[in-house]
Subunit: 395 residues, 2 copies
Amino acid sequence: MNIESMQFASRFNGISGSAIREIFKLLAVPGMISFAGGNPSLSALPDEQCAELARELLLDKGKILLQYGATEGYAPLRESLVPYLKDRFSFDCKADEILPVTGSTQAMDLLCKALIDPGDKVVVENPTFLGNMQAIRLYQAELVPVDSDDDGIKVDELEEVFKKEHPKMLYIIPTFQNPTGRTLSLERRKKIAALASQYGVVVAEDDPYRDLRYTGRELPSIKSFDSEGWVAFMGSFSKVISPGLRVGFLAANPALLRKCVIGKQSSDVHTANLSQAIVDAYLRRNLLMPHVEEICKSYAQQMNTMLGLLAKCGGVARYTKPEGGLFIFAELNEGMNALNLLMKCVDKGVAYVPGTHFYPGGGHENTFRLNFSMCTVEQIEKGMELMNEVFSENL
Amino acid sequence: MNIESMQFASRFNGISGSAIREIFKLLAVPGMISFAGGNPSLSALPDEQCAELARELLLDKGKILLQYGATEGYAPLRESLVPYLKDRFSFDCKADEILPVTGSTQAMDLLCKALIDPGDKVVVENPTFLGNMQAIRLYQAELVPVDSDDDGIKVDELEEVFKKEHPKMLYIIPTFQNPTGRTLSLERRKKIAALASQYGVVVAEDDPYRDLRYTGRELPSIKSFDSEGWVAFMGSFSKVISPGLRVGFLAANPALLRKCVIGKQSSDVHTANLSQAIVDAYLRRNLLMPHVEEICKSYAQQMNTMLGLLAKCGGVARYTKPEGGLFIFAELNEGMNALNLLMKCVDKGVAYVPGTHFYPGGGHENTFRLNFSMCTVEQIEKGMELMNEVFSENL
C-alpha cells in the first residue's frame, strides 16, 4: 500500500510544529543579531564546572547513574529540591511529592496526559508561551484565552471563565511571563489559588524565570497559597544552569503526581540520571545561587540597554518593563505589522518573534517579542539601531 | 473543592502502573537473588570510560552541549547512526530519517502519539513487553495478541488479523524477544515487511537486544526488507552502554518521523545533549563493539549456566533456548501457578516475573520469565537451587 495513505492520529489535525522554530531557520545567516530566541547566553553556561562535576559524579557513583533509575526520579535530587522549593518558592512539600522530569516541558506534557480528554478546556494567558500551547493542543483541549495587564492575568475575567466554562486547567507563567515579561501581583496569586480550590480547576504554575530577577522584590508562588492541592508547580533548571541537560521538576498532590509518574513510565522511563545528579550537585553544594547572581548582573545590563533603546525606537507605541526574565513584549503603532516587518528586519540583520504567534486566536499583528539574553550590549545597541531604521521607514 | 473530586483523563481508566515495578519493591531485601529485572549487569556499565568522555566532551564542546539542542537530535549522533544502522541492522537510511530519543520507550510513545486514536487496533506478540503494552494502552488502543512459536510471531495468523481487524500498527521485538528470548526467523522477517506494505500497517520494530548475541548467526532487521516505508525501527543503547543515559533512536519514513518530531517538541524539546554526545563518541570512536564483546562473554556464561540448571529444575515443563539477549521464558507443569509460587520463592530469597503479566489477556499462570544478566554465575547456581526447592515441593 502506498505510504502516502498512512493515516496519522487526529490529535495532529491543525498542528504544524512550532512557528518559532521555523523562524529560527531564517536566522542561520552569519552575523544575524537575534532577539528571537529564549536561550541562555552562552557565557552563562557553566561548561567547565559541569565537566568536572560530570567526571566526579561518574567516578564516584557511575554504577548507579548509568543503571536504570526510578521513574520517580533520582532520590538525592528529590531531597535537595525540598529546601530549594521552600527557600525559593515559599512552599513546603515532601520529597515524594516532587517528580524530576526531562525539562519542565515534560511536566506540562504529563499534566495534560493525566488530566486532559479531547474537548476539555484549558485557560491560558493571552498571550502565552507557544510551546505549551502546542502541548495542550496535541491533547485536543480547547484553549480559552484570558487577557492580562501589567499585574498579570485579569482575575475577574478568570473567575467568570471558571464559572461559565468549567475548564480542567489553568496554565500560567506568573513570573517574568513568556512572552510579556510581566509578573503576576501578590493579590492575584492569592486569588488564583483560592479560585482553583473554589472551582476545582488545576493550576499548572510554570515558573522557570523566577531566579532571573534584576530589580524589585520576590513574590511567593501561587502554590504557596494552595491549601487543597489544586496547584501543580513546574520548575526548570534550563534558564539557570543548562537547557541541554533537560532537567525540570513537577510538584503536585500525590494522586495527580502518581498519574504523572505512570505517564512518565511510558514516556521515557526516567530522566537521564547524570543530568539529575549534576543539578543535584548544584543544589546540594550551594553552587546554584552564586552562579545565578553572576548571570543576573549581565542580563540586567542587557535588559536595561534594550529598554532604554526601545524608548527611542521609531514606531514602538508601548512595551512592558519587566523586573527580570528574558523577554520584553512591545507594540507597534496601530496599523504596523510586525509579521511583515520581520522580513525587512531579517534582511537588515536583526530578528524578533512576531507577537501574533503567542495569541491562541492570532491577531495582534502589531506586537512582537524581544529577547535580550543571547546578545551582548554591543549587539543589542546595533540590533536596536537596525530595528529603529526599519520601523522608522515603515511608519 | 475537595481534591478527591479531581477528574483524571479517561486514558488512565484501567491503568495501574507497571506490575513489574511493584514486584521490584518486594526485592529490596538484602541478599535477594533477582531473576526478575531486565537491567544490564553493573559490571557491564562503563563508568570510568563515561566519566572521562563526559569531561572531555564538556570541555571540548560544553557550550553546545549545555545549550538548547534541536528536537531532531544532536547532529553528530544522527550522522554516526547511519553507518551503525547499515552495519548492524542492514538497512540504509539518511541522517535526517533518524530521530535520537530519550530511550526507545520514547520512540514507542511518539509512534503511538503520531498514529493512534482511541479504539485503533495494535497487534502485539503474545506474550510481549509489558512496558510498551502499557504505553499502547495509554493511547487507548485495543491490543490484538497474536501467538508466537520458536520462530517468533506466527505470520499466517498475523495475516488473518491484518485482513480482518485492520490494525494501525504491529508492535514486535524480533530479536531475543522480551519476555521469551525468541528470535523471529528470516523468512518471517521478509513476510512481515511484505504484509506491512500489502495491508498498510505500520510495523514498530523494537530491537534493543540484537547486539547481545552469544551464539547463532545474525539476521537482518525487518526494516531491511521494507521497500515502502511502513516499518519504523526503534533502537536503544540501554542494554549495550547504559540505560541511565536514556538514549535510543527511531528510524522511520520522513512523514511519520516529522509527526514524531512535533510530538517530541511538546514532550521534552530534545534529548539531553550530553547523553547523546557520549553515545556518539562510542559509535564514532569504535568503542561500542569491543565493549559489547566483553559484555557478551560474561552474559553467555550466565545464560548457559541458567539453561543447564533449568533442564534439571523440578516442575519446569519447558523453556526457550535463546541465542542471546537477557531473558529465558519457562513453563511449569500444567496446574502449577507461577504467580502464587513467586511469593514462596521470594521468601526463600529468589525472584522472577510471572509470565501472566506479559500476556495482554492474562492467563498462562504457569509461565515465568527469568533474567540472567544481573546475577553472577554463583548467584544463578544458588538462585536456581532455591527455585528448584520451591517448585519441587509444590509439584
